[in-house]
Structures are given as structure tokens and as C-alpha cells.
């Protein structure tokens, strides 16, 4: 039925089967859309946020998708600026994942602000002393960059590419992509950093506050570094999931191992910096503010020392070591384990820097605030996942996303 749209030579499942899959995921998407409309029409009373707990599940989801979406800017930087040519075989997919992550982040923000009709206020009435203004500016611009990076892949669709103008446009955009990629790296550096900077300048929250360099707290640099380090892990993880679902090998091992190696070194160096930051914070910053380290990890039923060990050691140091060591990196199971741990690690870091920050008591009369999201918040957080699955399914079916797919699957023609 849609055979004319499928990339030449590629095997795809039947159209009814494809639509059935889309319909199942689409039902989850509609559930999220329903919750989103409830939030828009009835207001933020649909959530369990309050004046005490203003940064909740959405902000964690926002920071997490932006962190894991960092694979797009970092892979683009490696491919177009550092000229690592092997990465051309995974850059299309990295861009699609980045596009999904950043459009999801903007969608979550549109729900979170409560009155989306006033979303443009942040540009018009810009508070130039706020790191979140910088985040809004850079996030919007970087989404434009990702859209520009995505367009050539769309124009390479079998039918669209027959239109001479689209063919030339895709070709010319590929030729100038280094400029867009460099702009994207510039924008990403600042918005990833400023998201961390927001936590670091919360002077009333001793769990988050950090010293730093000039106007930037250390969390600014740690957030950028971690996004560049763990973002490629998410790209590799989604690639692996796509391979499992389609039953095909889509990217050659040398490309996967190269990206995993770079990611591993980034994770390892990041985690060393993170450990130094944590030790300095625990031994200098925290005592200077009149607290002890135990204040942040005891006296409640959820946040214990385990979360620090899980984030830094189990989901930080271990994946870093697994990926920089050649023998473990080239073992598919251990590599997958490291990638999964890495993705969990960066999500856990964002959780700690958003939700634990809000939960820790600050005043002597405060108690731990253990927040539980409402179903509307959960549904709207799952909404981007469903949207992402649908977009990946559609792009995989109709666009030449993986340049090595035909070569890798020539000998075993099978449907997926």
C-alpha cells in the first residue's frame, strides 16, 4: 500500500501490521493528550505540585530528556567539526532522537507553564538575570537547529527526493551542516550548562548550591559534561532497541564501539569531576552553611546514601570503566549493560538535582517533602515516550535513516 514511500531495497512489515503498532502506541499517546488538555483547561490544580514543591516530575522529565538528547549535539560536533567520518552512519538517528527529546522538552514546558498562551512572555519580557531565560532562548534556537538537521533526512524520502528542488535542498543542507552543527554545539553548551547552573545558584538550598567560576557554579559545567557523556549512550540504547524490534542489524559494530569508546572516556572524566565536586561540597560547602552531610541522606524513607552510591559509582564509574576498556566495550552484553547503567545514571542525577533538592528540609521546622505525582503528571510524562516511539517508527519506515542497513542485511532478507 505504501511501498512507493519505503526506501529502495529496504524490507518493512506490512502496512496493516505497522498501523496496528501505531494504533497501540497511539492509544497511550491519546491518554497523555487527554491529561495534557485537562492541565490546560482546568489548570495546574490537576498536578500534585504546590508552592512548596514547584519543581516536580515534569522538570525532572524535562531535564532528563534534554540530557539524553545531548547525544545529537555531541555526535554532530564529532561528525561535522572533528570530522570523525564513521559517525555518518549513526548521525541521522542521533538527530531524530535529539529532535524527539527536544520537542518533548518543549511540550512538557508548554504544559508546565500552565498558561501556554503566555509562553512568548519569556522572550518579550525577558529577565536577563535568569539562567532559565538563557535556557529558554537556547532551547528554542537549538530545536530550530535540530529541525534543520532533520530536514535533509526527510527530503531523502524516496518520493520527495524525486522533486529536483528538494533533492538540491537536501544536498546543499548537507554541505552547510557544519555551520548548523557548530551553532547547535554553542547553544547546547549554554542551555545544558544553565540547567545545571539553576541548581547551583539556589542559595537557599544547601543540597544544590555550589561554588564556581565567575558567574557559573560547578554544576553548570557538570551538566554540560554529563549530557555530552551520557547522551551518546542513549543514542546507542535506542539504536539497540530499534535493532531488537526490527530484528535487523542497523549499524556496524565499529561505529557503535567508536561512539561507546568516546562516551566511555567522557563518562569517566565526568565522574572524576563529579566525585571531586561531591567531596568538596560535602567537606567544605555543607559545613560552611551549618549542615552535616547526613542531613541530606537520613531522616526519610526514600533518599538515603544509596542514591549517591547508585548515581556516582554504579551508574557512573562502572559504565565509564566498562566502556573505556576494549574487551568489555566490545562484548555486546557488557556494552549494553554499561549503556543502560549510563542512561539510568544521568536520569538519576537529574532526579537528585531536581526532586531531592526540593525534598530536603531547609528550615529547622521543616520536614522532608516526599512528593507523589498525580496521574495527569504521569500521563503527560509518558506522552513524549509514545510520541517518540511513533516518530521513530514512521521515520524508520519511510526514511533512509541507517546508511548501512542494506549492506548489513543483504544476505538475510526478512521482514521487520
Amino acid at each position: 500500500m505504501d511501498a512507493a514511500l519505503i526506501p529502495e531495497g529496504a524490507k518493512r512489515c506490512s502496512f496493516p501490521k505497522f498501523m496496528l503498532g501505531i494504533a497501540i502506541v497511539g492509544a497511550v499517546l491519546l491518554w497523555g493528550v487527554y491529561a495534557m488538555l485537562l492541565c490546560w483547561f482546568k489548570g495546574l490544580n490537576q498536578t500534585n505540585m504546590n508552592d512548596y514543591y514547584g519543581f516536580a516530575l515534569w522538570i525532572w522529565a524535562d531535564l532528563a530528556v534534554i540530557a539524553v538528547g545531548g547525544g545529537a549535539f555531541f555526535t554532530g560536533l564529532l561528525k561535522y567539526i572533528f570530522k570523525i567520518d564513521e559517525l555518518k552512519n549513526i548521525i541521522n538517528f542521533a538527530v531524530i532522537i535529539g529532535f524527539i527529546c527536544y520537542s518533548s522538552a518543549l511540550l512538557i514546558l508548554a504544559i508546565d507553564i500552565g498558561q501556554p498562551l503566555r509562553g512568548w512572555f519569556i522572550f518579550w519580557h525577558a529577565n536577563v538575570h535568569s539562567m532559565l531565560t538563557e535556557v529558554a532562548f537556547c532551547l528554542s534556537c537549538y530545536f530550530a537547529v535540530l529541525t534543520i538537521e532533520f530536514i535533509p533526512n526527510i527530503l531523502e524520502n524516496r518520493q520527495l527526493n524525486k522533486v529536483p528542488f528538494f533533492h538540491h535542498l537536501a544536498h546543499n543542507m548537507h554541505g552547510t551542516m557544519a555551520i548548523f552543527a557548530a551553532t547547535g554545539a554553542f547553544l547546547s553548551f549554554f542551555h545544558q550548562g544553565s540547567l545545571g547552573g539553576v541548581a547551583g545558584v539556589l542559595y537557599g538550598r544547601p543540597f544544590a548550591v555550589r561554588e564556581g567560576l565567575l558567574i557559573w557554579p560547578w554544576t553548570f559545567f557538570l551538566f554540560t559534561w554529563s549530557a555530552a557523556a551520557f547522551g551518546p549512550c542513549f543514542t546507542l540504547l535506542v539504536t539497540r532497541i530499534t535493532e531488537a524490534v526490527t530484528g535487523k542489524k542497523l549499524v556496524k559494530d565499529n561505529v557503535v564501539n567508536l561512539l561507546a569508546k568516546i562516551s566511555g572516556w567522557m563518562i569517566f572524566t565526568y565522574i572524576i569531576a563529579k566525585i571531586i565536586d561531591t567531596i568538596y561540597w560535602a567537606n567544605v560547602t555543607v559545613p560552611s552553611l551549618g549542615y552535616e552531610l547526613s542531613h541530606f541522606y537520613t531522616g526519610n524513607s526514600l533518599y538515603g546514601y544509596w542514591i549517591l552510591v547508585a548515581e556516582v559509582i554504579i551508574c557512573g564509574l562502572i559504565p565509564g570503566l566498562l566502556l573505556i576498556n576494549k574487551s568489555t566495550r566490545e562484548n555486546p552484553n557488557l556494552r549494553l549493560l554499561a549503556i543502560v547503567l549510563g542512561v539510568i545514571g544521568v536520569c538519576l542525577n537529574r532526579w537528585v538535582m531536581v526532586l531531592q533538592v526540593m525534598a530536603v528540609p531547609v528550615m529547622s521546622f521543616d520536614t522532608w517533602a516526599l512528593y507523589i505525582p498525580s496521574w495527569q503528571e504521569v500521563a503527560t510524562t509518558i506522552l513524549p515516550v509514545a510520541y517518540g516511539i511513533i516518530l521513530i517508527a514512521v521515520t524508520y519506515r519511510y526514511l533512509p535513516v541507517f546508511p548501512q542497513e542494506l549492506e548489513l542485511n543483504q544476505s538475510k532478507p526478512q521482514e521487520s
Binding site: A126, V128, L169, H171, T183
Partner: protein
């Protein structure tokens, strides 16, 4: 105050913030304008070449 920026103030904060913002927008706009214009030029050139 500039006509297209309602609350513009000539201070370092606004210059840095909006300077960076318009710098990025400018690069993206100029880059896309170049790509679209060149694609149109290439298309016309190709069609003229094929009609001869």
C-alpha cells in the same frame, strides 16, 4: 528601546542575552536562506540544462 523588542534596555545583560540570541537566529536564517536560494538556482540551472 527598539521597536521589535518591547522591554529592551541598553545594558550589558540585554546586549549579551539578546546578542547571543540574534547571533544564533542570524546564522540559522542566513544558512537556510543560502541553502534555499542555492537549491532554487541549481534547480533552474538543471532544468535549463536538460531543456537544451
Amino acid at each position: 528601546m527598539l521597536p521589535f523588542i518591547f522591554e529592551w534596555v541598553w545594558d550589558i545583560g540585554h546586549i549579551l542575552f539578546f546578542g547571543g540570541f540574534w547571533y544564533a537566529i542570524g546564522i540559522l536564517g542566513a544558512g537556510m536562506t543560502y541553502c534555499i536560494a542555492k537549491a532554487a538556482y541549481d534547480t533552474v540551472k538543471e532544468s535549463q540544462g536538460s531543456s537544451h
